[in-house]
């Protein structure tokens, strides 16, 4: 990056850096350096732990914090009950962990800590992470499906009421759409998070470069970009919630396929 180039590289925020000289850590030949990504996973886990801990007072009449935690568990519980039914309750721990982990990761990644020199890292903007979570959900669907229905689970690829001659055409399509699920699940979250952060970074470079280019450009480019950034920050907070919700919702829908095979 030369001095004439833009001072803000919108992709730099996704760079993974090993922390505290851990780049040499290995298990069985695989590198397990404790990176900034891992650090923010740790922070997410700790913050989420503290959040839920605050709701563990188990009071009969809940305080605000307990109410907040209970409304999250109740939200996941009712979502699973609506999509899977009574059998869905046993997936509450997994879906709750998934939803809250993604939600907190997205939210923490949006914190304006750059002002005080700490750079938040949104690990949900890496498809290695979202892909693993998606494959995890997909694996649970497969395990539950084959555990409950055995080989009968393959009838998932033949929708109910399909005419016999149509089965050879429908089944491959259904199979492909089924196999695409983990990719769409993982890519959706990764793309939404990355796009939002890139957009914010690009706009911030407009603000910085425009303001540095003089009074006129500050007014024409810098100020409108800044106002747009404020709005997009609000939009990104919404997207952070929606993407976590979509991930959890789709996972519960896929679990429904496995749990209640037609």
């Amino acid at each position: 990056m030369s001095a004439e180039q833009a001072k803000v590289d919108p992709m730099h925020q996704f760079t993974i850096e090993p922390l505290g000289g851990s780049q040499g850590w290995e298990i069985a030949g695989y590198n397990i350096a404790f990176t900034n990504s891992a650090l923010w996973m740790l922070i997410t886990t700790v913050v989420l732990f503290l959040f839920v801990l605050g709701g563990m007072k188990r009071e009969l009449v809940p305080g605000r914090w307990q109410m907040m935690v209970e409304s999250f568990t109740g939200f996941i519980d009712s979502m699973l009950e609506a999509n899977v039914g009574k059998a869905g309750r046993k997936y509450v721990p997994y879906i709750f962990s998934l939803f809250m982990f993604i939600l907190f990761a997205n939210m923490l990644g949006l914190l304006p800590l750059g002002i005080v020199g700490i750079h938040p890292f949104t690990f949900t903007s890496h498809f290695t992470v979202t892909g693993v979570l998606a494959i995890l959900s997909f694996t649970i669907v497969l395990v539950v499906g084959f555990w409950k229905h055995g080989l009968h689970f393959f009838s998932l690829f033949v929708p109910q009421g399909t005419p016999l001659p149509m089965i050879p055409i429908i089944a491959p399509i259904e199979f492909i759409s089924f196999m695409v699920r983990p990719f769409s699940l993982g890519l959706r979250l990764f793309v939404a998070m990355m796009a939002g952060h890139v957009l914010l970074e690009v706009l911030s470079s407009f603000v910085i470069d425009g303001t540095n280019a003089g009074f006129l450009w500050a007014g024409v480019v810098g100020l409108p970009s800044f106002l747009l950034m404020v709005g997009i920050c609000a939009l990104e907070l919404l997207v952070a919630g929606i993407q976590a919700y979509v991930f959890a919702l789709l996972t519960s829908l896929y679990i429904n396929d496995a749990e209640n095979l037609h």
Partner: protein
Amino acid sequence: MPQIAQLAETYSSQIFWLFVFFGLTFFVIGRGMVPKVMDTVAQRDQQIAGDLAAARTARDAADAEEEAWRVRENENRAAAQAIIAQAKAEGAAASEKKVGAAQKRIDTKVAQAEVSIDEARNAALAEVESVAVEAAQDIVARLAGVIVTKPTAAKAVKEAMAHG
């Protein structure tokens, strides 16, 4: 794009730490804490349902109590009415008896009075007769110079009086 450029060198650490921290999240928070939170909610719902049921039974009991009280009250009122009616009847009978006795007393008094009136009248009539007899004797003696005996005069007077 660091996600792809750094893929080869970072994928193992990303996956490893994700498993570590998401595993912690799942086992500690998801499996350990969330069921307790939901337990509290379930307990509260149960408590509320129990309290509502208790309130409902209490209200039903109160309703039954009130109904019983109303029945008792009606019975008491009926009993009181019966007592009043009986007392009224007794009073009426007693006063009737008293009135009857008084009537009887009055009747006898009236009868006695009538008898005494009759006696008085008869006495008076006798008096009038004797006076008339004496007067007739006197008149006859003065006018005719005949002296009639008392029984004769009396007989004449009686005849005259009977003819009016």
